[in-house]
């Protein structure tokens, strides 16, 4: 069958666009950026909470992925590969900077109830002042702040699960984590978010 007269990249699946990029088509590279610049930037931005830095890290992500597009293996989803690099870039940056993110639900490696209790953080002792509380009444702001308070590992899991709509298995493959760990992270992230949003929900009742 003869090729289509013009490359309609917009409607092609990711795998086909990647194949065209591997052939050296500039338009295919740009189509991949167009499709994923927002999801990748949003993920990275919510990890580092700094717009300029997030742009730089998202840019690094795309440059790494597109410069090694020939290494892409079609048996995996392109988006999973992209999110994996984006997450690694963001986590590496956070590790280098050692950002003071403290989980209110204990260390991620805490397995027993005692260990979780010993490493947990009581939100009651760190109540925000009244002005901040009023600002947090806006649900979007409150949830963004609550996500910002999560551990980076929890943050990427919860974002991939609920913002990107990925399955647990996909998240495990994307982040190179065991399935059980992903489930634990998401469970703890939900629990932390629930606790952080309790005052807001109380106000709605």
């Amino acid at each position: 069958m003869p090729p289509p007269p013009a490359l309609d990249l917009f409607n092609l699946p990711d795998a086909d666009v990647v194949a065209l990029a591997q052939q050296g088509r500039d338009s295919a590279f740009r189509e991949l950026i167009r499709r994923y610049e927002r999801p990748v930037f949003s993920l990275v931005y919510r990890m580092v909470r700094d717009r300029e830095l997030a742009e730089d890290l998202a840019q690094d992500t795309f440059v790494k992925v597109l410069n090694h597009i020939d290494r892409y293996r079609p048996e995996f989803k392109f988006s999973s590969w992209l999110f994996k690099i984006a997450n690694n870039v963001a986590i590496d940056h956070l590790r280098r900077r050692q950002l003071p993110t403290v989980s209110i639900d204990g260390a991620p490696n805490a397995q027993t109830a005692e260990a979780i209790q010993a490493t947990s953080f009581d939100v009651a002792v760190d109540q925000e002042n009244a002005l901040d509380e009023m600002e947090a009444r806006e649900l979007g702001t409150a949830i963004e702040r609550a996500i910002a308070g999560l551990r980076p590992e929890y943050r990427s899991c919860i974002m991939l699960r609920h913002v990107e709509g990925r399955s647990y298995e996909e998240i495990a493959a994307t982040l190179d984590l065991p399935l059980g760990t992903v489930k634990t992270y998401i469970h703890r992230a939900r629990h932390e978010l629930r606790r952080a949003l309790e005052p807001l929900r109380g106000g709605e009742k």
């Binding site: 007269p5 950026i33 469970h187 978010l193």
Partner: protein, 196 residues
Amino acid sequence: MIDRHLLPDEIDLLLDDEVGFGVSPLKAHVRACAECSARIEEARFVTEAVEHLPRFAPSHTFADRVMSQVPVFVPWHVTALDAMRPWIPRSHSARVVVATIAAAAGSVLTLLIAWIATQTDTLTLANGIAGTRLRAVVLDAARDVLSTVLGDQIFTVIQQAGTFGIAAALIGLVVAAAGSVAGFRALAAASSRRRA
């Protein structure tokens, strides 16, 4: 039906809208238990809030900045295919017509070339005529250039020296022109260095 409150893992199963054999009893319990129903509702409030978070957009120059760091090597066959693509008709029937015409034109051209190749006498004659004409044109042009640049008197002297004289004069001209160009470039470079 389950006669205890749901465990955290079981709440997660319901939050993720899991389906399966073990989920029905959990749902039945939630319908009957106000406390578990409230816990599910509270958890769903949070997950829905996260699901409705907006996606942020990077700056409008983002794609250009990325592409400035991604060297794209386009193979010649891709370039050729892309150059041809706008000329390929959209409909299947039009493509068949164009392919038929192209095949017919290709066949006629091939036959023509094959026929010409068999006419060796004609080719030799045509080649000889073309060679003679080309030599005459080149020599006339060289004479014109030299007589214009050096003047008729000097040209007459060079002409008396024969083909060797004309060739030596031409080489001298080329060397002088190249020297001038190099001199101008050196001057321009020195000037820009001074400005910098």
